[in-house]
Symmetry: D3
Subunit: 189 residues, 6 copies
């Protein structure tokens, strides 16, 4: 049993949380077998937790030209660039499961340019990384490789917005030293 703190900020007991949040947490726990620490780390601010997951679900569970695995690829690659323990470990696990590939998450985290991905996925990640790391320089020319690979305007928004949401999420996790659950490390391997 891990005794290390999961956040620099207060972590309320699940029993003390508002009903809607407690219900969601219990549902996740029943499905996964544990409560991902992000729920506990954000729970001291219920309104913010609700807004975060509303945004997260709108982008990560949306139907469209990107598969769910591809959405997780964006999270893993950009979160690694931001040095975010929680996001790389937790979303690396989700990616391995969604992609049914035990290697892909580590490859993307270390150097996405060397990963076993398609040219289309490479274009997707090049754009996501530019949004994540140098958005002030985005120009019309950056959209051309995406269109050439068949991404729609809607898909491009998804790519950029996921990179943006996790730019935020990475900062919250780094701010709070949010600790990933030990369970994530081995999932999907």
């Amino acid at each position: 049993m891990n005794e290390k703190p999961i956040s620099r900020f207060p972590v309320p007991a699940v029993a003390d949380l508002p009903d809607d949040i407690r219900t969601r947490i219990i549902a996740v726990q029943e499905k996964s077998g544990f409560v991902p620490n992000v729920f506990l780390g954000l729970a001291h601010r219920p309104d913010e937790l609700r807004a975060f997951f509303a945004y997260h679900d709108a982008l990560m569970e949306r139907e469209g030209g990107l598969t769910k695995a591809e959405r997780e690829m964006i999270v893993v690659a950009t979160s690694a660039a931001n040095g975010c323990h929680y996001c790389v470990i937790a979303h690396g696990a989700i990616l391995r499961i969604r992609a049914k590939d035990p290697l892909i998450a580590d490859q993307l985290a270390i150097n996405y340019r060397k990963a076993d991905i398609s040219p289309r996925q490479r274009a997707m990640l090049d754009f996501a990384m530019k949004v994540s790391q140098d958005s002030a320089d985005i120009a019309d020319a950056d959209f051309e490789p995406l269109s050439a690979h068949g991404f729609s305007q809607d898909d491009i928004w998804d790519i950029g917005a996921i990179a943006g949401l996790f730019a935020f999420s990475n900062r919250l996790a780094n701010l709070s030293a949010m600790r990933p659950n030990d369970e994530f490390y081995g999932m999907g391997r």
Copy 2:
């Protein structure tokens, strides 16, 4: 009347938006005299717009140790570091009004280290800038100057979370080349 496009992505007509969003936009328009382009630029994704403003309001309108002007200071300084036209111009206007200071926004946008702010506000912005620009390196030592200036843990979360939310917002605005309304430039001067 400005004829320049306000986004690279589709901009729906206000009349076609869901009721709750249309109502909010009309309320803002009645108060400000114009519709800030951020509402129009995000409106093609109603769920995301709702989540964004839920998060925004939770952080920017919260009671606590930071004044509303100080919250806007964080937005202006970090958005300038990210080269975000929309956020610097729009929140610069709001900051001038909230701080009743016609100079402060330009000072923070150019070089926050030279602005006419208190040592407490300087500590606040140093931390916000670290969250914004180098969150992977945040360490316990970074919290000490904040505590020394009387910021509570709750205040520190606000500082970091606002810097994080606008890291996201800056990326969405840069992704979409979101254009600030001309009205903002001269407000509060």
Copy 3:
């Protein structure tokens, strides 16, 4: 009336300055209604002040392929990249007046790549920014877009030399914490 110091270094009284410098300062004051602080901040070194303005006038008031507004555009964009309060505020005011455009200075200061400028002006500023920020990497290929937009060799020298002169001026202003006059902030809006 602003009581904040205008420099870390000594600021002589205008009455004590050499005749030629005092005469120039009084002429500027009569035209503008105030003495720009750069004159006072450099006045403790009369020979250097004379050399600075000789260089400044040779480049900024020269006839040639660049308009006076375009010369100020170079100053504002490069000075913003160098975080120079004095130069962005003072030359931002001059640019607004010369370009008869209340928005352009703020746009260039935040992110010149998103400003409302012509492709020719964009090429001019791309080159100026390279001279300002990474001159060691200048290569023959950097001159091609300028020639393609009709800039002569003489114009290119002007672009590069203005970027260079303000690389110097920005450093002097940052060295001395030179404070821009409050009057500049609102001029030309």
Copy 4:
């Protein structure tokens, strides 16, 4: 006889230059045995050449707390950081002669932090490098080591202004691909 071009820009014949400039060039030639290319590279703009040397002489030949060799140290260290061939080679030669030290210029050009200099000179160069490379971050605390080593306010201005003038000069030399005279490489060794 070196046939390589000394500048990307026009190089007038000495005979065609205005009297004052031609006289200065001939005087330098008689003293050194050759005409340093900086005179030829700037001569197509006589007013700028005059302003440059007025500024140069005001800073480099000034009496004060810095020796002439120390002034050249600042030039060599900062010009190396800016990748400027002309300034490192030409001022490296002058430094070797003024310091009567055949090793010092190469040491400063490669890594000034490892050079055989006094702690006082190290403080001088640390400050000069900050002015040269990151002037936006200069703070009052940067002045303390200089005062502790006995530098006066006037000396500190000299250090910063020399770093600033050569920030400009390096950019002009990189803009024009100004070639150092072959004679400089071996002088003072």
Copy 5:
């Protein structure tokens, strides 16, 4: 069976290699169950392979103040900073085994400053990272935290030399796009 190429450069058959190299490779294969690709990727240059492993063994198998697991920590943290797939994956596996810790390698690869390590190991890795990423700035002051944690001069050489050797090794692996064996990913988890 993985069909992806393991190097951009020629990969000789083991049977064609010089006796000493073939013998070493077969010994490793018998111990590990597979031939790590680094042997095959370097084998087209037998003299260099011999020198590499001579250096590697001298540093990684040396007795001294650093455990073998700590030596691997240096490899993993610095190789991640250099974006080296092969070294992070292969040495991550070795580290998990030597440290008997399934989490440590991923933690060090993502952000060593957030890993579950002792303050002594943190000081070791701070120094290793400085040697790896910014060795030109190493100063006497960087040695003080190491001495304070009880590292001897010999230990400090080990830390720095391991960081240096893998600066080399990372570049060879990135040059050749050396592919880690799939077996490494799951070892020690």
Copy 6:
């Protein structure tokens, strides 16, 4: 006679060294007239010294498409980028001698992009610098200019491996503050 220390680490007496190392050192001394400090700086670790020189000789004395002078060019340009006193000074001397050119080493050390080299050598150094400074980003496209200039796969390995070996060597020299012998500075001028 220079009394300055040549290393932060122990420097054994030549007489106390193992026979093979002492013999090599004496041979170099007889040829050059002095013992290059790199031998003394590494001698406290005989196995590592042997491995270093085995690697060095395998790469620097190899027959192939690169001349010995070109191999030294790689060393000088990349070592300058890493701020390594010992390597720039010592290999600068060797380069001057091998290239029979008194200017080339200083040119490469200050800014290799402005040096008097052939387009083929420029392509070689662009690639070497990428291996040295940003190897994580090496892609197939980086090999094309090399092939276009006639470099074989074997030559490309040499270029990259030399850049890599000196990435290591520069770090050892910076770690130990290895001092170049005074004799090197003037050799070959």
